[in-house]
Symmetry: C2
Subunit: 305 residues, 2 copies
């Protein structure tokens, strides 16, 4: 059996890419493949799977030695499953930079500098002349909408837009109205404790000895989220102490207007002031037009360490 | 400008893949790209370039910071150019395992578990619907013949064979007769000193604290090469001392009959006896049917350390 899975803290691209790769492999004659998830799915992904009537993948806790695996939407071992170092990686389909990736055997590796893994998987369907069913096309376009925030993120490429429109046609959806509905479904944060909220999508980098943690949540109303600012700050301060973080930013991203308000804490929080040329007030900083952590936040923070 | 190049100690696949990628990029509208080599070409490659009337690429010594590069036929930084760590890697096209590969930015990375990089580049021509000119097809089929020893190496896949036959048609060559002529051109070792001979194509691995070096040369007559065994042994013993090697094997591969005779030296040379279940006599061991260092030599040596 070949296990297909994306990264920990799964998002819509990671979950649906596992499913569309399982579908493609099966259509190419590899019947013994199965998509898995490495953790609880989020509200947005839940909306997408329900909308297109697709069952949620089972959870995989760890992987045995020499198991055959296909990685989607990630390559870094620390973001992957326990035991990945000793697995037999057959394929990787990904759109991230590559980080200390090592395999013992030659493999199939396809990465492209595009906004979403599903954009690459679409190319694989085309190359292999496999038709995409409407339901699978629905999952694929959802992932592109999710990763590019409906084409507003600077990570979005012309290819993502063209392919998303093509997939929307096959899926029979109106990309704008479906897209907003889907993104809004992902902004329902009512189930989360403050501790969970700051861990929904959180990434750490180290730059010149400074530990930088940037978490991100999407919302249709920044004001609503800020009603809980005091509790969120407590959760962040606990996290900072436990994990030895020097600057923690929680990006609260307004998906309607494509801006972010960030809560900034830590003994090196002045790095954010230098990076964005603004003062932090009430532990917050407003970032006009900022929606991409990868392109608009991490690089400027790193330059100012 | 985008620099395209393969690995150090270039072979026919590395040199011709740089040239066919330059050709493909230009046909796709990227005019500012150029193929380079990282060292002296071998006799086989010289024969190929002359046969198809293609000029040898210029040599590149090092690369400036942030230069745009495309890597073919390798990914490991130690096999690449000086300064590669700080270059901007745009694309990698390769058929090897991946070894501690790291980039700062997302990139295009295409690897496939096939016998030759040109097999993958052929797929890129197809995907992009670019026609392959006869001269370029000639270079491409030459690389497949070279890397698979005319389909006899266990690294050769069905895809390599199909694509090589397709390319031979475009190039207008008879694959068997041209292939033998080309491989024989590569066996002309008359220009090399013993020191150069053991460095033509030499790779090192470390396994459980044992330093293993395996060099390989192709010949149409093992006997002819062995006339110089005493001088070759002196060169190997010098290399062992300088580089702290525990077992050095020089595979002398008979490309007509697909066997190898190995000269084996070093304080751990008994590893080769265990690995192949035969005694070393006069510092030599005959390896029936062995032509691939990657598949038939390194793995069994490693298992016996």
């Amino acid at each position: 059996m070949t296990y297909i899975f994306g990264h920990k803290n799964p998002d819509t691209d990671t979950i649906t890419s596992s499913i569309s790769m399982e579908n493609l492999e099966k259509k190419l004659g590899n019947s013994d493949v199965k998509a898995f998830k490495l953790g609880k799915i989020n509200k947005e992904t839940e909306f997408v799977l329900k909308y297109f009537g697709i069952t949620e993948p089972e959870t995989l806790e760890k992987i045995e030695e020499k198991a055959d695996v296909i990685l989607v939407d990630h390559n870094t071992f620390s973001q992957s499953i326990q035991g990945i170092e000793k697995a037999n990686i057959l394929k990787v389909i990904d759109h991230h930079c590559i980080s200390e990736f090592t395999t013992k055997n030659p493999l199939f590796y396809l990465a492209m500098p595009v906004g979403c893994t599903q954009t690459i998987i679409y190319e694989l369907y085309k190359t292999n002349k496999v038709e995409i069913e409407p339901k699978i096309a629905g999952l694929m376009v959802s992932a592109i909408i999710s990763d590019t925030l409906l084409f507003k993120s600077p990570t979005c490429t012309q290819k993502d837009i063209e392919i998303a429109n093509e997939l929307a046609k096959i899926a029979g959806i109106d990309i704008e109205s479906y897209g907003m509905e889907m993104l809004k479904a992902g902004t329902d944060l009512s189930d989360f404790t403050p501790e969970e909220l700051i861990n929904i999508d959180s990434k750490k980098i180290e730059s010149n000895g400074v530990n930088i943690q940037v978490a991100q949540i999407n919302t249709a109303s920044i004001e609503d989220v800020l009603k809980g600012q005091a509790d969120i700050e407590n959760a962040i301060n606990d996290f900072i102490k436990k994990n030895n973080i020097n600057i923690f930013m929680l990006l609260i991203t307004d998906i309607i207007n494509s801006n972010s308000e960030a809560i900034v804490l830590g003994d090196k929080s002045e790095i954010a002031e230098k990076a964005f040329g603004k003062k932090i007030e009430e532990n917050r900083i407003f970032l006009e037009g900022v929606v991409s952590r990868k392109k608009q936040v991490f690089p400027v923070l790193m330059e100012n360490t």
